[in-house]
């Protein structure tokens, strides 16, 4: 598009004006209001949550309901991808050099994922980060020509993808059933419950991300083998 086109000038100007307006609102929001803020309150109550990392306390305890539904969003995305058709043909098998590198990288990614999952209770880490590493391991396998990115066949993959949300929802419902309320952890069990939920979520997130990378329903094993 030539620069003489009035649109080429008008659109950036308009966007800049909207941006300036929003920044003004943001600035007056930052400086304007006094009063108790949620972040301070959350930090104060981290010790009661069963996790000493504040991010984990918020994600898995204070606002666990949001996280439960975010896992459902991931599942919906995967189901949506599957409903559009089968996965593309697998990549060509990598050469010896890359292949042996993948043989090193993938176990490291899985170990690092396990570490992040465990450390998430006390330090930055947790199910989403660990799941992202597992997903990356799957992507690496897919890129080096492994069919189905190292994932199991469709029947087990479905179980794996739904597992994290299922564990989460069942724990929530059980706690309601015993009279505590949906997703209300008893303080003594909070740490164990959070770890159980995070383990399930890690597996599901990893499997979902890797399966999403394949871009369609997994092919039957026999057809996919080269």
């Amino acid at each position: 598009m030539s620069s003489s086109n009035p649109q080429a000038l008008l659109i950036p100007l308009l966007l800049a004006a909207i941006g300036a307006l929003l920044f003004w609102a943001f600035w007056s929001g930052l400086t304007g209001h006094e009063g108790e803020r949620l972040a301070a309150l959350a930090l104060e109550r981290v010790p009661e949550s069963g996790a000493s990392n504040p991010v984990t306390s918020v994600l898995l305890n204070f606002r666990a309901y949001d996280t439960l539904l975010e896992l459902a969003v991931l599942l919906a995305a995967l189901l949506g991808i599957w409903s559009l058709g089968p996965a593309a043909a697998p990549y060509q098998r990598a050469s010896l050099l890359l292949d042996s590198l993948v043989g090193w990288v993938v176990p490291m990614l899985i170990i690092a994922g396990g570490y992040l999952l465990w450390i998430g209770g006390q330090a930055p880490g947790g199910a989403f980060q660990a799941g992202a590493l597992l997903g990356a391991a799957g992507v690496t396998l897919a890129l080096s020509g492994r069919p189905n990115a190292g994932l199991p066949g469709e029947a087990w993959l479905r179980v794996l993808a739904a597992l994290g949300t299922l564990v989460f929802a069942l724990i929530g419902l059980t706690l309601m059933g015993v009279g505590l309320g949906f997703l209300t952890y008893p303080p003594a069990l909070a740490k164990a419950l959070i770890l159980t939920i995070e383990t399930g979520a890690t597996l599901s997130i990893g499997a979902t991300l890797a399966a999403a990378f394949l871009g369609g329903r997994p092919r039957a094993k026999r057809n996919a083998e080269p």
Binding site: L21, L22, W24, A25, F26, S28, G29, L30, G32, H33, G35, E36, R37, L38, A39, L41, A42, R45, N61, F62, R63, A64, Y65, D66, L68, L69, E70, A72, V73, L75, A76, A77, L79, G80, W82, S83, L84, G85, R158, V159, A161, A162, T165, L166, A169, L170, G172, L173, M176, G177, V178, G179, L180, G181, F182, L183, T184, Y185
Partner: protein, 478 residues
């Protein structure tokens, strides 16, 4: 100790997970979930009806730290409608998809959509609403593309992207509010909110994003292709429920959150767009070639009516008038939910048995599919607003209050929309009863027809409205 609020969200979610894991059992498990969820929803509605508003704090932390769910009358009314419609759609889907492969794809996404609907109606937290909007938009777009045709994939990709833009804009507004007030619970933010740049920008961003999702004219461009190309049960859900959820949220924010921030000129603007939607949507429905496209454009028009209420609600003094307007608005939304779902399911049957849904070639459909034709007729009664449908009462209040509040122009829009709705409904019914095509020319003998037409128009449109002057006349000269 069972909590109907949490169950209304958790049960369909649990069902979605089970049918994902056990696709071979999807129909049985799906129907069981549908029945259980509807049961919980009705229990919830009856509880609210008997006078208790429901509120529960998930995780037991209470606001502002935790997330709350709550049901007031407005939420409960929409939950009851949405779940009854969803149950009917589920039963229809067991027949529509049968045991085919598409049934396995349908059930998990459908139950996730149901989860999002209930979650959205019951949410009391601004960020949680965003998560619900994402789940709703994603599962709706995936369901819409289930037919697998190129048009469906294209229309639903556009739907997905528009939906994402809408929810991102909404999120930006939430971020602004959180920056300024540090809380996310709807009631707490509403208490703290004061007029100023933050409130105005948040209003514009959040309502603007949701207008895109509720397909208010002229942002409706994505709706007709997406709704018309989806499988019939999905079209029914998209038109009757998903769009309605976005409108519900606009209303919720307008009345609860931005009460006192939203000014009358802003409401007038939305009313004006609503008027545009009523006229343009009805006109396009009248010109539509296909039954499902007609129904989709009719949705655009019906959404428009809901927005006609906003300037009246904003102008009305608190109390009786406002409550009557709100009742009428909800009545209209509920009636449209039931009517449009029924219309789409019947249209799906017509499409399945005749192989097409071209209105021009519907001749004789009434003879071969009497129940489906009758359904379309009944739904048409509700869409037009003939008595005793809910739309009739709603429009009655709309017209009456528009005149009482000095905003008479909305009454004209409502009447014009009603006439157009009658035209597009009767156009379908006339074809279904195998009538000859209507002649090209409207008038055949102007000199004899125009006087007759004027008399009929006078009787139908003018005399009723002139009741007041006539009463004055009768009182005069006594």
């Amino acid at each position: 100790m069972l909590d109907p609020l949490a169950l209304a969200v958790a049960l369909p979610l649990l069902g979605a997970l089970l049918v994902t894991m056990l696709p071979g059992w999807s129909r049985t498990l799906g129907m069981l979930t549908a029945l259980a969820t509807t049961g919980v929803a009705l229990w919830l509605t009856v509880t609210v009806w008997s006078g208790e508003g429901l509120r529960s704090d998930l995780g037991g932390w209470g606001v502002p730290l935790g997330i709350g769910l709550r049901a007031d009358g407005l939420a409960a009314a929409l939950v009851a409608m949405a779940n009854l419609v969803a149950l009917a759609i589920s039963i229809n889907a067991t027949g529509y998809f049968g045991a085919a492969e598409s049934s396995r794809k349908f059930w998990p996404l459908w139950l996730l959509l149901w989860t999002a609907l209930n979650g959205l109606f019951l949410a009391a937290d601004l960020f949680n609403l965003y998560v619900m909007l994402e789940l709703l938009g994603l599962s709706a777009a995936a369901l819409g593309a289930l037919t697998g045709t190129r048009e469906a994939a294209e229309a639903n990709l556009r739907y997905l992207l528009v939906g994402l833009l809408g929810s991102m804009t909404y999120l930006l507004g939430v971020a602004l509010l959180y920056t300024a007030y540090g809380v996310l619970d709807l009631e707490l933010v509403a208490e703290a909110l004061t007029p100023g740049p933050v409130a105005w920008s948040a209003l514009a961003l959040m309502i603007g994003g949701l207008l895109l999702k509720s397909a208010l004219f002229p942002l409706h461009f994505w709706l007709p292709p997406a709704h018309a190309n989806a499988p019939a049960p999905v079209s029914a859900a998209l038109s009757a429920l998903v769009v309605k959820a976005a409108v519900y949220l606009v209303l919720r924010l307008w009345l609860d959150l931005f009460d006192g921030i939203a000014t009358l000129p802003a409401a007038m603007l939305l009313g004006l767009l609503g008027a545009g939607a009523v006229l343009w949507g009805s006109w396009r429905a009248l010109r539509a070639e296909r039954l499902k496209l007609l129904a989709a454009y009719s949705t655009v028009a019906q959404i428009g009516y809901l927005f006609l209420f906003l300037p009246l609600l904003t102008a009305a003094p608190d109390g009786d008038t406002r409550e009557r307007l709100l009742t009428a608005l909800v009545l209209l939304a509920l009636t449209h939910g039931f009517a449009k779902a029924g219309f789409f399911l019947a249209a799906g049957l017509v499409q399945k048995s005749t192989g097409h849904d071209r209105i021009r070639e519907l001749g004789g459909a009434a003879q071969s599919l009497p129940a489906a034709t009758f359904t379309i007729g009944l739904a048409g009664v509700a869409l037009i607003g003939l008595p005793p449908s809910g739309t009739f009462f709603a429009k009655w209040v709309l017209v009456g209050q528009a005149i009482a509040l000095g905003q008479w122009w909305w009454a004209l829009v409502a009447m014009a929309g009603t006439l157009l709705a009658a035209a597009y409904v009767f156009r379908v019914l006339a074809r279904a009863f195998n009538r000859e095509p209507t002649p090209k020319c409207f008038l055949t003998d102007p000199r004899t027809e125009i006087p007759a037409l004027l008399l009929a128009a006078l009787s139908a449109l003018a005399v009723g409205l002139a009741a007041q002057p006539i009463a004055v006349l009768l009182g005069a000269g006594v």
